[in-house]
């Protein structure tokens, strides 16, 4: 009875928080964006008529100064963003929703899908930080790239969760507990984003996202790297790694409701899981990779092993990805072709990554994670000077420096994916070879005995 009362009180605490943030608007696309097909374009008069998607309603628009009328196309589904500062119904930007699929694009999608899948199966998250920019550089509008990635992420995470659950690594209860608070965290993250966008515009938003990326990834990634280094030096032969000092202190807090996580082998107050879940969601809303906080959070704050934390993160990614995909789907922004092409290889990759974890020690997952986070931090850090210059916080940078920094940023992303793929598959292959040798020796020994 006492337990029930506590659970009810606990839910009552979460409910107003959730409803307040939901009322502020959900995650998803900018509501001021129009989707439809141009039925008429008058280049001379700088006007166009758009038929809004799913309706017969026609809307007359003025082609803004920054838009070249000759680039507009009739009969193709487009996303139109309006420039509210320039007046009513003034087009700021037009992007074609569905890029033409070429063989090169197809191969690019299959390749990033595979590596992203391996990474995801191995460290619980990954890929989104490179998949979304990759799709954008292939020609997908930003919103479509985010939506299509999300719609590929949750089935991938579902298959990954199933595999790792079979290996006994997923703590379903922990995944569901974390997901519930992470969804609230996403809403808070979106609110902050909207506030920043309204106050400081697009440049402010870019600066905020990049700064968050760098600060979080350097601090958390640096700590994970330090921890993995310590383990690889001294503690790798220990069969069980002990939880961090912080996690042990957290587990001592006896504030009901206490929760038992059997797979993670942790008994901890539900209140401790809340900030970790919220932070995961907030980060997911800001930089699209909640796992960079979720996994280290589960390891260092809650006290799960890297193996269980990375597997459980897949479960969280499934719940949050499904929820996010429904939001994006309701706005009709998912390009299913991109989602299924990524799935073609990522469903193979995620299973390879998942089974790979059974051959490696806990610290290898930490090393892979730390390497990914730190290289992604370089990629985002390279963009910071440009954004800071736009705000006048640092002197203007020359176009050649800006171009160099941009290509550095792109190649760092590719390197992050490459390095992570290399470490995880390398460790897995090494483990597999050692395992086969061992079982061969075992068979020979058995035969000798017989």
């Amino acid at each position: 009875m006492k337990k029930l009362v506590i659970v009810v009180l606990f839910s009552l605490f979460l409910l107003p928080l959730a409803s307040a943030v939901f009322a502020a608007g959900g995650a998803g696309p900018d509501k001021s964006m129009l989707k439809g097909v141009f039925t008429e374009i008058n280049e001379a008069a700088h006007t166009a008529v758009l038929r809004k998607d799913g309706t017969t309603e026609l809307k007359s628009l003025i082609i803004g100064e920054k838009v070249k009328p000759e680039t507009l196309r009739l009969g193709k589904k487009v996303l139109v963003s309006l420039d509210h500062d320039a007046g009513e119904n003034v087009i700021k930007d037009v992007s074609i929703m569905f890029m033409d699929m070429t063989l090169k694009k197809l191969l690019a999608l299959l390749t990033v899908g595979l590596v992203g899948g391996i990474l995801s199966g191995f460290i619980g998250s990954g890929g989104a930080f490179v998949l979304t920019p990759a799709m954008m550089s292939l020609g997908a509008p930003g919103a479509v790239a985010v939506a299509s990635n999300m719609c590929h992420k949750f089935p991938k995470a579902m298959i990954g969760t199933y595999k790792r659950w079979k290996y006994g690594q997923v703590d379903i209860k922990l995944a569901l507990t974390m997901s519930a608070t992470a969804i609230v965290g996403v809403q808070i993250g979106v609110m902050i984003q909207k506030y920043i966008l309204n106050k400081w515009g697009n440049d402010g938003s870019n600066l905020y996202v990049s700064a968050m990326f760098v600060v979080v990834l350097v601090l958390v990634g640096g700590y994970v790297a330090y921890d993995a280094y310590k383990l690889s030096k001294g503690g790798k032969d220990k069969p069980e790694q002990t939880a961090s000092t912080l996690a042990l202190a957290m587990q001592k807090i006896n504030l009901p409701p206490m929760m038992n996580f059997k797979v993670a082998k942790v008994r901890i107050s539900a209140w401790v899981t809340i900030p970790v879940g919220l932070a995961t969601g907030m980060l997911a809303a800001t930089i699209a990779v909640g796992g960079f906080i979720g996994v280290p959070g589960m390891i260092y704050v809650i006290g799960a092993s890297a193996m269980v934390a990375s597997a459980t993160e897949l479960g969280i990614a499934f719940v949050m990805g499904l929820w996010g995909s429904i939001q994006w789907g309701l706005s009709g922004l998912i390009d299913i072709r991109l989602s299924v092409l990524l799935l073609a290889t990522s469903l193979i990759g995620v299973q390879v990554g998942a089974l790979g974890t059974t051959y490696v020690k806990d610290y290898v997952i930490k090393i892979t994670m730390a390497a990914t986070m730190l290289i992604v931090a370089v990629s985002r850090g390279a963009l910071l000077p440009g954004y800071l210059a736009k705000f006048g916080l640092v002197g203007q940078i020359s176009p050649s420096t800006a171009a160099f920094l941009e290509s550095l940023s792109f190649w760092a992303l590719v390197a992050a994916l490459g390095v992570a793929g290399f470490i995880s598959t390398g460790a897995m292959v090494k483990g597999m070879i050692a395992d086969r040798k061992e079982s061969k020796l075992h068979i020979i020994a058995e035969a000798d005995r017989a």
Binding site: G54, M101, Y167, G329, I334, R337, A344, I348, A354, T358
Partner: protein, 78 residues
Amino acid sequence: MATQQSKSKLFLSTVIFGAVSISFYVLLFTNEKLVTDTFTKGGIYTLFPIGTVFLFSFIHGAFASNLLSLLGIEAKKK
């Protein structure tokens, strides 16, 4: 003999799941315009993309799982 039998069974299911998966991909890409237009109508049409990825992940996921087993890429046996 038993392993031989289970291997040929595995091969058969890999081929079947693979064939179904490929035909889904062909079906989707040969009707590209109709599919992309219908799937992005929003509202209740959300069920299309969500349902599709679930379907693809079951079929193609099963194919991938069988393929990996067939290639001998399997989890460590405890």
